[in-house]
């Protein structure tokens, strides 16, 4: 059983007057074989959380369990985990084979077993031709695959990924994303994947943890996070262009924020009155930025039009109607979903 349980996990740096709490109590249950993505902006604490699961950071308060064992006091090598780093962290003076075999050698695994595991991983990742090369002779994508191979041969209970795609160019990133998906389908190992990129999160996750400033704002499937965001932060973080969070929508109750995604607004003969302030033509879609006609400050409403529709002119008046079942309401003070 390789589930991960996080129980009231808190992380503090410093002591006495200089204490800085960066993670404020996270509770989560990750099922065996699940692929969970932790997503959030820079500095939200997602890498710190991952490193606490790995054992590279002390757990100030709370408990983390892997399988049925509480791992708070265990060394990283005793937790039966493997980690893939953002900068690959390959040993520069060893060739690919030795890089992948190093952990197994230390664990005193017999040589033929090591060779068997390395060959199998090399076949899965298609790096069999590079076994004798050193990391500096490989491209970024190849190095990342070697790093994943090093993780696979350990046959761990849990895979930990720390923003592994951030150093790759866009095309390679998309390709490697698919490879990671395929790897998870084939091996079925519980995975915790940290990223700041919501596209990676939406495409790879079976469930996502959305973090903001050390707080877990929502833990759900991509579908849930997209269509029923728990807070205004989650609502604006997931989805591109971000959801409209409107204080000045007509008929809105005071003290609430109305949320509606740009793709759920239609330009209709009547409805909310807006003046077209700006246009962005993105090829497959067009973004129309509208300002409230009833003069409510400088709040902009973003509407996504698809190719078929005629684009309104700058400065013209338009009316939009939100799709009724796609409206969200948030408390203006707490940001939580109503």
């Amino acid at each position: 059983m390789a589930s991960i349980t996080l129980s009231r996990v808190i992380k503090r740096y410093g002591s006495g007057k200089n204490t800085n709490q960066v993670i404020h109590g996270v509770d989560a249950e990750i099922a065996d074989g699940e692929f969970v993505v932790v997503v959030g902006p820079s500095g939200c604490g997602k890498s710190t959380l991952l490193r606490m699961v790995a054992g590279l950071e002390e757990i100030t308060e709370g408990e983390i369990s892997i399988g049925n064992r509480v791992v708070n006091d265990l060394e990283p090598s005793e937790r039966d985990i493997a980690m893939v780093f953002q900068n690959y962290a390959l040993y520069p003076h060893m060739n690919v084979f030795d890089n992948m075999a190093y952990g197994l050698k230390i664990a005193k695994v017999p040589m033929d077993e090591i060779k068997a595991r390395v060959d199998k991983a090399a076949k899965i990742l298609e790096i069999g031709d590079f076994m004798q090369r050193k990391p500096r002779e490989l491209s970024g994508g190849q190095r990342q695959r070697v790093a994943m191979g090093r993780a696979i041969v350990r046959q761990p209970q849990v895979f930990l990924f720390d923003e592994p795609l951030s150093n790759l160019d866009a095309k390679l990133r998309a390709h490697t994303r698919l490879e990671i998906q395929k790897l998870h389908r084939d091996l079925g190992i519980t995975s915790l994947f940290v990223t700041h990129d919501q596209v990676e999160a939406m495409t790879l996750a079976q469930r996502m943890i959305v973090m903001n400033a050390g707080v877990m704002e929502q833990f759900g499937t991509p579908e849930e996070v997209y269509s029923r965001p728990a807070t205004t932060f989650v609502a604006s973080f997931i989805g591109s262009p971000p959801m409209n969070l409107l204080k000045n929508a007509p008929d809105a109750k005071p003290g609430t924020i109305v949320g509606i995604r740009p793709e759920h607004l239609d330009i209709t003969p009547s409805g909310w009155a807006l003046q077209v302030d700006a246009l962005e033509m993105l090829g497959a879609e067009r973004l129309v930025y509208g300002r409230w006609l009833h003069g409510a400050g400088d709040e902009l409403v973003v509407i996504r039009c698809d190719e078929a529709r005629d684009v309104p002119e700058l400065g013209s008046t338009i009316h939009v109607t939100p799709r009724a079942d796609r409206l969200h309401g948030f408390d203006a003070v707490t940001g939580k979903r109503l």
Partner: protein, 284 residues
């Protein structure tokens, strides 16, 4: 844009050649003098620039000792070269081991008084040799280490500069490498042996060369603490051959000097390959 000015090229070549001549001329002179006989050197003014015919006997006398035509007894420098070699090997090896381990502790571990230890090491850089040589002699004498290999090399092993060199190098090793090794199950010493040591190969090679030459050229300290002729290094041997009340056999002096220059030159030439290889290799 590559400048094409033949006049400048010729001028720079002339200057460089002049530099080469200035640097190698004394060496050439020494070599030539070692191949002549003592009378030829002292009696022909200026000394002949061409190699003489007495090379074999001069070098034999210089190495193994013997009696010269003028009747002076010369003790061979072979045993002294051996002393120099041993010291010149113990010092770099000891220094590298000690400073690598110190730097490793300072960079990768947190322990009480860590900062004080660091500053203490730094402070030793401020003490010039002349200040500490008296007390060092007293300590070595009271430990009974005079006239020994231990006494010649151990006081010269501890080095703040080498510790800093390795500290700076270890700081450039990315943290992720340490973490990957931790996850792989490598303890601190394992990490030191399997990861840090191979990565430091160039620094070690550079330090070895510099310290070998430093150890080989030690004069003041051996002069102070050796009274037994068997423990004299070769640089002291050269000095002793010159002057005094006996006739100076200049050809033997020059021959001994050439012999004394050979091992450091060899070390530098052999290690050069390592440097270049190491420089080409470094790219994480």
């Amino acid at each position: 844009m590559i400048e094409h000015r033949p006049g400048l090229t010729v001028l720079s070549h002339i200057i460089l050649l002049a530099g080469v001549v200035i640097v190698t001329f004394p060496l050439y002179l020494t070599l030539v003098a070692s191949t002549q006989s003592a009378e030829q050197i002292t009696q022909s003014v200026p000394m002949s620039m061409l190699p003489g015919t007495h090379a074999l006997e001069t070098y034999k006398t210089a190495l193994f000792g013997g009696e010269t035509a003028a009747g002076s007894k010369i003790s061979g420098s072979a045993p002294m070269m051996w002393v120099s070699l041993v010291t010149a090997l113990i010092i770099p090896l000891g220094k590298i081991t000690m400073s690598m381990l110190s730097a490793f502790a300072i960079v990768y571990f947190r322990f009480p008084f860590r900062n004080i230890v660091f500053w203490m090491i730094f402070v030793t850089l401020m003490l010039p040799v002349e200040v500490r040589i008296g007390p060092t002699y007293e300590v070595v004498a009271s430990l009974g280490m005079l006239n020994s290999y231990a006494g010649l090399s151990i006081p010269l092993i501890a080095s703040a500069t080498a510790t800093f060199l390795f500290r700076q190098f270890f700081l450039t090793v990315p943290d992720e490498l340490v973490e990957a090794a931790r996850i792989d199950g490598a303890g601190p010493m394992r990490f030191f042996k399997d990861v840090l040591l191979p990565l430091s190969a160039t620094s070690i090679a550079a330090l070895f060369v510099i310290q070998f030459i430093y150890g080989w050229n030690q004069y003041l300290w051996p002069l102070l603490m050796t009274t037994n002729e068997d423990m004299y290094p070769v640089v002291m041997g050269i000095k002793r051959l010159i002057g005094g009340d006996s006739y100076t056999e200049w050809n033997v002096v020059m021959a001994t000097a050439v012999l004394a220059m050979l091992p450091p030159a060899l070390v530098v030439m052999l290690m050069q390959k390592w440097f270049v290889k190491g420089l080409v290799d470094t790219e994480k």
